[in-house]
Point group: C2
DNA sequence: GACTTTATTAAGTATGCACATATTAATAAT
DNA sequence: ATTATTAATATGTGCATACTTAATAAAGTC
């Protein structure tokens, strides 16, 4: 057998993780110092540090200067979701992607949208409604507001051809995003465009993005019945 | 002014990030080698590496050995969600937490549950239904299956007193988790226990956990109307 | 030309060392 | 007793260096 002469930080991470899982280090416990673990396992402190960083980031331990490293007493389920642009999502399922612009108008910001964007005063904004289709069937109905102060370029885009979703992702990077999920009853427009029997439950993905302090856009994406967002870690 | 004599990896990260945001490095572009950036900015390669690691992890760039570092052509919205144990979630909102066991029975695994757990044959499992309350109002209705082969300890727990949610989190660490969100119409039990007017839309958080290859538990947590899960990055 | 072998490249990792920084604990000053 | 000062400590960070590894390109072979 070829015992690796050097431990990689992932080996160290797995060693520590195992000890946490099997309660050698129980929830709330303080772990030995990085340096002691390094000595015990026979590697450099840097290597232990790297492993601990990872464990800390995945929420298994908490580290504090001088305080040391503790096993989290109240583990949380941590999951990372990647939300791709809709075209990509559809095409990756091997389905045909289509897109229809429903409406495009300048309007004053309504109160709830102001709240989402975190602004105090209504301003003229671009209000876009559109439908994304997969294999000719409704997939996602999006209701979007774009702040034309931060993103004037959107006004020159032919939204009949290219979705605001796509244009923004490719042309307007953001520095901060807020994502939330909730459920709504199909009704009014969303029910009509998603062609669902009324009274079905729909998942809404609401996203708001900023560049620095300035809001860019906020969108409610209402998914067709049966839609799920998933993450596995 | 006191210009910092040394650049921190976060400074480097912000520099690179800014260049990506302002299209100095456009989507799809290949960035200079770590070493060249280090030289340009006047720091060690390690420091650039650390910064790049972070950018890579947040999905802004993609790195490949020999291939170099590229700005992601199709940025995805990446969001990390922390799902705490329900008690904690309620108490952090400053509300009173309560819990009621609804039922607890040994049953053969039904087909859909087998699919979630990834097992081929039905086995006797513990099927638990319970209700979490916030300020005496229904908060989350959970429908859970626990594999007693991997987790026999659950059989000795008085689930009248302690929720399976809590016991599992504190006593059964997992190595893999699958989380998904979707929407359902309130009906049957969930509607009854959540005390909603029928025909409202409810968010379901479905979680399945494994330890190594062995399934531990799968749970559908049906949240009361108005519930949202949120993450900001 | 099609295939295999070899060299090159750029990121990935490990290490030792020095110093920075946040926190806690001990101590001195009021 | 209370507050301010100082020391001790564990993690955080930066750097120089050497080596590893995956992917690619170039060279050589059939």
């Amino acid at each position: 057998m070829t015992a690796p002469l050097r431990l990689s930080w992932m080996d160290v991470r797995e060693t520590i993780r195992t000890r946490i899982l099997d309660r050698t280090y129980a929830p709330g416990d303080r772990l030995p110092r990085d340096e002691d673990i390094a000595q015990e396992l026979g590697c450099a402190r840097t290597t232990v540090h790297r492993a601990m960083q990872d464990l800390s980031q995945m929420g298994l331990v908490e580290r504090k200067r001088k305080g040391g490293t503790h096993v989290r007493a109240d583990p949380v389920t941590r999951a990372t979701f990647d939300i791709p642009i809709t075209r990509r999502e559809v095409e990756q399922q091997g389905r045909k992607y289509d897109y229809q612009l429903i409406s495009r108008e300048m309007e004053e910001t309504p109160i709830p949208v102001m709240a989402r964007l975190g602004i105090q005063q209504p301003v003229p904004m671009l209000h876009v409604k559109a439908l994304h289709l997969a294999d000719n069937r409704p997939f996602i109905f999006e209701d979007r507001w774009v702040d034309t102060r931060s993103t004037p370029g959107i006004l020159d885009v032919d939204l009949q051809v290219q979705s605001a979703n796509e244009w923004l992702v490719h042309n307007k990077p953001y520095s901060r995003v807020d994502v939330r999920f909730y459920a709504v009853i199909a009704q009014g427009e969303s029910a009509r465009y998603l062609a669902t029997s009324a009274e079905s439950a729909l998942l809404v993905i609401e996203r708001t993005t900023w560049i620095g302090q300035d809001p860019i856009t906020t969108v409610q994406s209402v998914a067709a019945p049966g839609y799920q967002v998933a993450a596995q870690n």
